[in-house]
């Protein structure tokens, strides 16, 4: 049975949710979400630096989606609009969780998985070195991505990146990434 994206989204979209979205990840959508979260966070009794971290990490998460979303092949396209992705920002106990999800073809999984596992294995000092190395040595892609997003998220949150790859259909999987911003690291 293939992975049920909508059911998964419903599950995420429960509890203390600040923003939830499923659909096309476009520049306009990113702008709207950022505006919405800023307004909501304004009204929340929270340390300024945590608010900033949530905003920063959300920017990277959304732009990672924007740059890396893959289109589904024609035979699987019917159920999802183009550039389909999901995003849920919620509060759990004292942490903020930013969940993103998008389709990925099987041949790209290994690269992404290796990258996340590598990031998760590093200490804060090692992450800093990795960030600086990529910053100084890798060129920006034509789309403007620089391969720094996940490293930056890991550095800013100080937490491990949690992920799953769920089989959808044929060569396509649904990649879900959960990022936690906690009070003190």
């Amino acid at each position: 049975m293939s992975f049920d994206v909508h059911e998964y989204f419903s599950k995420l979209n429960g509890g203390d949710v600040l923003v939830a979205f499923k659909g096309s990840i476009t520049t306009d959508l990113i702008n709207n979400v950022l505006e919405e979260i800023e307004e909501k966070m304004d009204g929340v009794d929270e340390q300024a630096k945590i608010k900033k971290k949530v905003y920063n990490v959300l920017v990277e998460s959304l732009q990672n989606l924007y740059h890396h979303i893959e289109e589904l092949p024609d035979n699987l396209k019917n159920d999802f609009e183009s550039k389909f992705g999901i995003l849920v920002v919620s509060r759990e106990n004292k942490a903020y969780r930013i969940s993103t999800g998008n389709f990925i073809s099987s041949e790209k999984i290994k690269f992404l998985k290796d990258k996340i596992d590598k990031i998760n294995s590093l200490s804060m000092d090692e992450l800093k070195d990795m960030y600086k190395f990529i910053l100084n040595h890798q060129k920006l892609s034509a789309k403007g991505g620089g391969g720094l997003g996940l490293v930056d998220i890991a550095r800013k949150t100080g937490n491990k990146l949690e992920y799953t790859f769920q089989h959808y259909q044929d060569d396509y999987y649904f990649f879900n990434l959960d990022v936690y911003i906690t009070e003190e690291n």
Binding site: K128, N136, G146
Partner: protein, 126 residues
């Protein structure tokens, strides 16, 4: 040289580059999806400025947020400034960060460790 003066938006910073006074300023937010478009003219301007710079160039960077796409472009800006400094002109980069914003301070320190130009870390106290 014509100065550059760009009003900030919710996703791009306010920019003021003035060759006559040697003042370079980038302020606000820098979080566009694709930052090359925004920064290319700034880097080009600095390339031109580097041919006949002021004896002293003062750079003020005061960012509230910047994304990783911008971080590389900001490095390109700093590399141009580094070449001006290398050619025996005075250059100082003032890196402003808000009180408690350790991430922004650390970002400034990352640049300081890569770029051979004197940095000053300045905390903005409300």
């Amino acid at each position: 040289m014509e100065p550059i003066s760009i009003e900030g938006t919710t996703k791009t910073p306010t920019v003021k580059f003035d060759a006559g006074s040697g003042k370079i300023e980038i302020k606000g937010r820098s979080i566009p999806e694709n930052s090359i478009e925004f920064y290319k003219p700034l880097v080009d301007w600095l390339e031109e400025y580097a041919k006949r710079p002021m004896d002293k160039t003062t750079v003020n960077v005061q960012l509230e947020y910047f994304n990783t796409s911008s971080s590389k472009c900001i490095l390109d800006v700093f590399k141009k400034l580094e070449s001006i400094h290398k050619a025996k002109n005075e250059v100082v980069i003032n890196w402003y960060y808000e009180e408690d914003d350790e991430d922004m301070l650390e970002a400034g320190e990352d640049y300081e460790s890569i770029i051979r130009v004197p940095f000053k870390m300045i905390e903005i106290v409300e």
